[in-house]
């Protein structure tokens, strides 16, 4: 096991990793930008090293500074957290060349899965369903109709050079498809100088379901079941939970096994998340792999009782997984609300500033993961998440009730947070009944 590791991150995830290390008897070196100087969580590290000014590009994203801090700090490994350099395979390689363990997958696995198209190919080979499509460019209407009849309407027409919705069209039948193909080609030509389009099955009201996986260096791969993360605003997750509600047991098991197959097929190691979309008929399709720990990992920890950060560190240090698949069960229901310093009344605009007064929730089944406290100044330089409120209860119904009372207890003055918005979401019948898809928040609350 390591004696000393560096944490190449800030805020709540840095604190989370410091806590895990203290429990494992591992010393920690924290790094911080000048905007985070004096933050209370840095006191809990054994050493804290300033690596640059407030701007991420000059501090938390600056590979040479972090490696230099690792050398000065004399650490054996680096935990990248999430965001910043967590999925940067170059950083991962630099760590290796400096003989510092990167607590995560290898750079090779990261590269393989980092390319969406290659990942899709890998998934196909591992017999993991991907969203059905033409598999290549569509030359004319006749071919489009043929493919559409194979994969079934509605279909999505996408520009091969596209992005940001440009050149995208949905067609629900032959007639629409015939005209839409031409329009899409014309639009793509105009926007990207490339008229190439392809077809993909259009998944209506998809749910976002992801599977947590752990793989050690000895070939053992397990899943820790799924998380439901459909409550999103503009592709930003707001609420995550485990287990996914209203997911048939056979689907749950099939998704989890698919995730393990995929991870095994690329010799992926450490913690990873395999993301799927699930349609209204419970068909599931692979989307991508997140080759890092995720913000929402605590909901999995609550229902499985397994500490994912400690697991990541033990895996990187070469320890075999201390459990097998059959030991890993989902107990009860866990929900996480991301508490962001944002004003939900003003289009979720960030609200940095000082927390004048604060009262944190507690009690049975409540976990508040946060580095902030009364007097803390939320800096304007980083993302707006100031904490994660997680509850764990025997049933989902109880978890919602517990979350509501915990949100009531959370009192933060001086800045606006998303806590009031979460209360509205948690009380909405669609959420209560567990039928949330990724359009839910925008459809119901943002009148979009």
């Amino acid at each position: 096991m390591y004696n000393r590791i560096l944490i190449a991150n800030r805020g709540e995830i840095a604190l989370r990793i410091i806590r895990a290390c203290r429990e494992m008897g591992i010393e920690t070196v924290a790094v911080f930008s000048e905007a985070d100087r004096g933050s209370a969580y840095l006191d809990l590290a054994d050493e804290a090293i300033c690596i640059g000014p407030a701007k991420s590009a000059q501090s938390y994203l600056k590979i040479d500074q972090i490696i230099s801090a690792a050398e000065v700090g004399n650490v054996e490994a680096i935990h990248p957290g999430y965001g910043f350099l967590a999925e940067n395979s170059h950083f991962n390689e630099v760590c290796r060349s400096c003989k510092i363990d990167f607590i995560g997958p290898t750079p090779e696995a990261m590269d393989l899965l980092g390319d969406k198209n290659r990942a899709r190919e890998i998934a196909r080979k591992a017999k993991v369903p991907v969203v059905p499509g033409s598999g290549g460019l569509i030359s004319d209407e006749a071919e489009a109709l043929k493919v559409a009849h194979e994969i079934g309407f509605p279909v999505l027409i996408k520009a091969t050079a596209g992005g940001g919705g440009k050149g995208m069209r949905v067609a629900a039948n032959d007639l629409v498809l015939q005209t839409a193909i031409q329009q899409a080609q014309t639009e793509a030509q105009a926007a990207f100088g490339n008229a190439g389009v392809y077809l993909e099955k259009y998944v209506e009201r998809p749910r976002h379901v992801e599977v947590q996986v752990l793989a050690d260096l000895h070939g053992n791969v397990v899943h820790l079941w799924e998380r439901e993360c459909s409550t999103q605003r503009r592709h930003q997750k707001l609420i995550e939970e485990s287990p996914a509600p209203n997911l048939p047991q056979e689907t749950r098991e099939a998704i989890c096994q698919a995730a393990v197959r995929l991870i095994k097929s690329v010799n992926y190691t450490n913690a990873g998340t395999v993301e799927f979309i699930v349609d209204q008929e419970n068909n599931f399709y692979f989307i991508e792999v997140n080759a890092r720990i995720q913000v929402e990992h605590p909901v999995t920890e609550m229902v499985t009782g397994i500490d994912l950060i400690r697991s990541q560190i033990a895996i990187a240090a070469g320890e075999p997984l201390p459990f097998t698949q059959s030991n890993i069960t989902q107990r009860g229901a866990a929900i996480e609300c991301r508490i962001n310093a944002e004003d939900s009344e003003r289009n979720f605009q960030p609200c940095p500033g000082q927390i004048k007064k604060m009262f944190t929730p507690g009690g049975m089944g409540v976990r508040f993961e946060s580095h902030v406290h009364q007097g803390y100044v939320v800096p304007p330089h980083y993302d707006s998440m100031i904490g994660k409120l997680i509850v764990h209860q025997p049933t989902r119904r109880e978890a919602i009730a517990c979350m509501l009372r915990a949100l009531d207890e959370l009192r933060i003055e001086g800045i606006q947070t998303t806590a009031p918005f979460h209360k509205k979401v948690l009380q909405h019948s669609e959420f209560v009944e567990g039928w949330v898809d990724t359009s839910f928040v925008e459809r119901v609350f943002l009148n979009k």
Partner: protein
């Protein structure tokens, strides 16, 4: 004061107003003028603000508001004293090689291009220029000491 007195007595309104104007203009909190038996003492705004105790610091201090700018920065007390801070994390070397003399020592004069030390980061030896001219007043780190970003390295007297 309605009836302004001759010979500029203490109750002379014109004089009074002139003093008040001067107080405002120069942001004076208090004026106390005495001449033998005469005295004019005027206090403005001052006492209120003066009495306010500083707000107790929140605990823990939280992310610091003060953003130490990296090198060079004027020392708080003396505007002519400038502190050169480390522009990176690494190991500080005062000399180009173990057998050589230090780049600079106390009393030396440096100019903007003078190399004042080396900081090793990721096996790269970075020569650090003074970026300011003046006299070295103090070397604030030891040879081969690990330094973080923003760590004060040298104190320079820019009048020297």
């Amino acid at each position: 004061m309605a009836e302004s007195e001759s010979n500029g007595g203490v109750f002379d309104e014109a004089r009074f107003l002139r003093i008040v104007e001067l107080m405002k203009e120069h942001d004076l909190a208090e004026v106390d003028l005495r001449d033998s038996e005469q005295r004019i003492c005027i206090k403005r705004g001052g006492p209120v603000a003066a009495a306010l105790p500083p707000a107790p610091p929140a605990y823990p201090q939280g992310a610091a508001a003060a953003q130490a700018s990296p090198q060079p920065a004027a020392a708080a007390d003396d505007p002519n004293m400038v502190v050169i801070k480390s522009p990176m994390v690494g190991t500080f070397y005062s000399k180009p090689n173990p057998k050589a003399a230090s780049f600079v020592k106390v009393g030396d004069h440096v100019d903007a291009e003078s190399t004042i030390c080396i900081i090793e980061a990721m096996k790269v030896f970075n020569e650090i220029p003074a970026e300011i001219s003046g006299k070295v007043v103090a070397v604030l780190v030891k040879d081969e000491e690990a330094v973080e970003f923003g760590k004060p390295l040298f104190k320079i007297d820019t009048t020297g």
